[in-house]
């Protein structure tokens, strides 16, 4: 046996960092890849449906407009509120920042900082969920349900699938947070916080893409005149 291996055998090491990344980290990355495939499938399906959609003509503020994807509803209002969603996007990005700061605190064995920043991350996620629920309620009230047309079906599917990830993430982080309250993860054993952070950043990353492709990209209208 090599000297290092002998040394390792003597020390009775819990070898959770064999190589450079722990098992948990590699496992989480692989899971995130499978999740990325799921979201890619949904977003590509959305793109295909949108490309094949017939142009829709609606009256918007007295003007006739033609859209490839009915961004404006029959009542003339835009279906999706971009300003409101921009705030939600900003909150999610902020929660990603607090997550990294929480990991940073854990790495520096700062228990108080870890609990604070992780708590803020959870609050950010919860705020996002509330915003999503509010948006859904508002849309359904206007009759824009999942059954309405292609656009709403893909909208609710994609954002709903993502919202489910946010909910799972909030639950996951809360469990970690409660463990932190009991002193875990602030003694140099920050691996589980890092892994939870990977999931949370993935949730944020997906939202960045969803926000762009589902909310921002469809905003193309061709005015046809009064």
């Amino acid at each position: 046996m090599s000297e290092a291996a002998e040394h390792a055998a003597h020390e009775d090491i819990v070898d959770e960092h064999f190589g450079a990344a722990s098992d948990g980290k590699v496992g989480m990355w692989i899971f995130l890849l499978t999740d990325a495939f799921s979201f890619s499938g949904l977003l590509l399906a959305y793109a295909i449906l949108r490309a094949g959609a017939q142009p829709v003509r609606t009256l918007v503020e007295g003007k006739l407009v033609e859209q490839s994807w009915p961004f404006y509803a029959a009542d003339g209002e835009p279906r999706l509120g971009i300003g409101f969603t921009a705030v939600m996007t900003f909150v999610l990005i902020c929660s990603s920042v607090t997550m990294v700061l929480a990991l940073n605190a854990a790495q520096n064995r700062n228990k108080k900082g870890l609990i604070t920043f992780l708590g803020l991350t959870i609050l950010g996620g919860a705020f996002f969920l509330c915003g999503q629920a509010f948006e859904y309620h508002h849309l359904i009230e206007r009759g824009l349900t999942l059954q309405k047309d292609h656009m709403m079906a893909t909208f609710f599917t994609v954002t709903g699938f993502h919202g489910m990830h946010v909910f799972t993430g909030v639950t996951y982080l809360t469990i970690i947070w409660v463990q932190c309250l009991f002193g875990k993860y602030s003694k140099g054993d920050y691996n589980n916080v890092e892994i939870a952070g990977l999931f949370w950043h993935f949730v944020d990353l997906v939202w960045i893409l969803v926000f762009t492709f589902v909310y921002l990209l469809p905003v193309d209208i061709k005015e046809l005149g009064p």
């Binding site: 290092a4 040394h7 390792a8 020390e11 090491i13 819990v14 070898d15 959770e16 960092h17 064999f18 190589g19 450079a20 990344a21 590699v26 990355w29 692989i30 890849l33 990325a36 495939f37 890619s40 499938g41 590509l44 793109a47 295909i48 490309a51 971009i82 921009a86 996007t89 900003f90 990005i93 902020c94 990603s96 920042v97 997550m99 990294v100 700061l101 990991l103 940073n104 790495q107 002193g183 875990k184 993860y185 003694k187 140099g188 054993d189 691996n191 589980n192 890092e194 952070g197 950043h201 944020d204 990353l205 960045i208 893409l209 926000f211 762009t212 492709f213 921002l216 990209l217 193309d220």
Partner: protein, 132 residues
């Protein structure tokens, strides 16, 4: 005594909460170089945040100020990918991981990327190809 309690607590927890022992040495010595390999500095964190906010602002600007359909699409896709890259590289710390780990993430994502490109080319060819 409080110090006794501390030791007992440490041993009662499962192996995960014991001071991490890896690479054959105890992590109790705060070697900054080692930590740098495993985490982002605070300055880096805020810098990336600033970049993300700016990119988001640009995205909203592109939508608000009508710059034409094709430039808008290209700009939005580019900005979104840039943001995704920033989050993956710095917040998920992919930049500090080993080469093989990065490979493990990039390689599978080539599949959806290829599919997306093929779909776009097909759509362009189908919609605009006949007007040659």
């Amino acid at each position: 005594m409080s110090s006794e309690k501390e030791t007992i607590e440490e041993h009662d927890d499962d192996s995960d909460s014991e001071p991490v022992k890896a690479h054959g040495h105890d992590h109790k010595d705060p070697s900054l170089a080692h930590h740098a390999a495993h985490g982002a500095t605070k300055a880096e964190i805020w810098r990336v945040f600033f970049v993300l906010v700016v990119l988001t602002g640009l995205e909203l600007g592109v939508v608000k100020f009508h710059i034409g359909k094709t430039p808008m699409v290209l700009a939005l896709v580019g900005l979104a990918l840039a943001k995704a890259y920033a989050v993956a590289m710095y917040y998920m710390h992919l930049k500090g991981e080993t080469k093989i780990m990065k490979f493990m993430v990039y390689l599978p994502m080539l599949f959806p990327a290829t599919y997306a490109i093929v779909l776009m080319l097909e759509a362009i060819a189908r919609l605009f190809g006949h007007r040659a």
